[in-house]
Symmetry: C2
Subunit: 259 residues, 2 copies
């Protein structure tokens, strides 16, 4: 993406995110209207829906020919990745928002014909906006980020998903044992930020497109790898176990699948 | 403890903690001098040791007849809980400090004849000092805290320890499944703060005295329960699996041990 194009989008999307943050903080000290989706651990609140609705309205106005894939389904029914596609998670880590009022994120990204172009990932309570574009690099708020060290799995902390660990899916317990320790934060967006910052060498979870599409663009710009657990490249419409990791950690995790 | 006595200690200990925080932040952007203790996951840095040394010196001056039990062993060789005893963890979550520069704590507490009197728990990067005394309540910085809701395990997030979960010690995987989700933060001090704030309904881990002595005083003042996993009262010199939880969550966890 051209830098001027990116800067134009960055100004707009940052304003949309500020509006979404303000909406979240307005509801911060009052009881939320919480509904279950697929089960008691899969929640949605009126804040998720209001934020998605506003993002969809802004994108329709600013990028009228684009399609929109949003977690709450208020965008389009997207079955392929052709053309301009915005992928949005208006409030990632809804359980954390409901129960902890901490560790939740807002994510938006733009793909063209399946290729990531620009991404915005906001750690709301940490006041950290990670943003960047293909070929231009990544910023944390106003500071350009440097690539994290390419540490092996054995020299880093591993962010994993609770259900994958307790059911030992894809050798998750061996991966935890090979690392310096397992961490579980309960938000894909927040877990991605820790790998981007070099605080953790990998994050592995069962992810849907809006959980990883944004983080993938930022991670790849910083020399990290996003793949399926057996080393394949996920499309942005994939559902499954996806990881983000340093090159060395990814190699070790993929090797453990066939060992 | 008398309020005036507590306020006197609070002014002193807060100043010691501010000094320890300043020492931590001084080393924040430079490589640390890291040593392994019992293994590759059990670390100590020069910052842990310097902070413990300073706390010991301050306590020796302000409370000369007291004994001191510190994680790094720079206090006394304490084999019983008689008399005045300070229990200190100069930097809890050393792995997080080394690898993430986040999610670590400082903890100090005063016991007399085995009974908790006053406690200070500092979430350094969160800028949150939890402090309080027996019979006086708990403050988060300058604000008096209210007791968290007595939620059941099934309505809250559960903070657990990675090794206990992967080895399924004491039915940890069933406890995770019964909760709304498992979280692992890698610092006993930080995990205690989340239960104190009502963000999580329990925290269970293999803990040593300096890991839980401080949190225990604060938790009990807020109507929470600290016990062994089978419902016994731990002494402040206990080593073992210890939990802090709401009354309802503790009851469910203890019941699962004999089910």
């Amino acid at each position: 993406m051209q830098e001027a194009t990116y800067q134009k989008w960055n100004a707009q999307v940052t304003a949309w995110i500020d509006e979404a943050k303000a909406n979240i903080l307005e509801h911060f000290h009052e009881p939320l209207d919480v509904e279950q989706k697929s089960g008691r651990r899969d929640l949605v609140t009126q804040v998720d829906k209001e934020n998605e609705q506003r993002f969809v309205a802004h994108i329709r106005e600013s990028d009228p020919t684009a399609r929109i894939l949003g977690e709450e389904g208020l965008g389009d029914d997207v079955q392929d990745d052709k053309g301009r596609l915005w992928i949005i998670d208006p409030l990632d880590g809804t359980m954390n928002f409901v129960k902890q009022r901490d560790d939740f994120a807002i994510m938006l990204s733009l793909y063209i014909d399946g290729v990531g172009q620009a991404a915005w990932l906001c750690d709301v309570m940490g006041n950290r906006l990670f943003h960047g574009a293909k070929g231009l690099g990544v910023w944390l708020n106003d500071a350009k980020m440097t690539a994290p060290a390419n540490l092996p799995l054995s020299e880093g902390l591993a962010a994993l998903s609770g259900p994958l660990v307790t059911h030992d899916v894809d050798h998750m317990q061996a991966i935890a044992a090979a690392s310096l320790g397992m961490r579980i934060v309960g938000s894909a967006g927040i877990a991605f930020t820790k790998v981007l910052r070099g605080q953790q060498v990998c994050y592995i979870s069962y992810l849907r497109p809006w959980d990883f599409a944004t983080g993938k663009i930022l991670a790849e710009e910083l020399g990290l790898v996003v793949s399926t657990v057996d080393g394949q490249t996920p499309t942005v419409l994939s559902y499954g176990v996806v990881l983000v990791a340093t090159k060395q950690a990814q190699k070790a995790i993929v090797a453990m699948q066939t060992a």
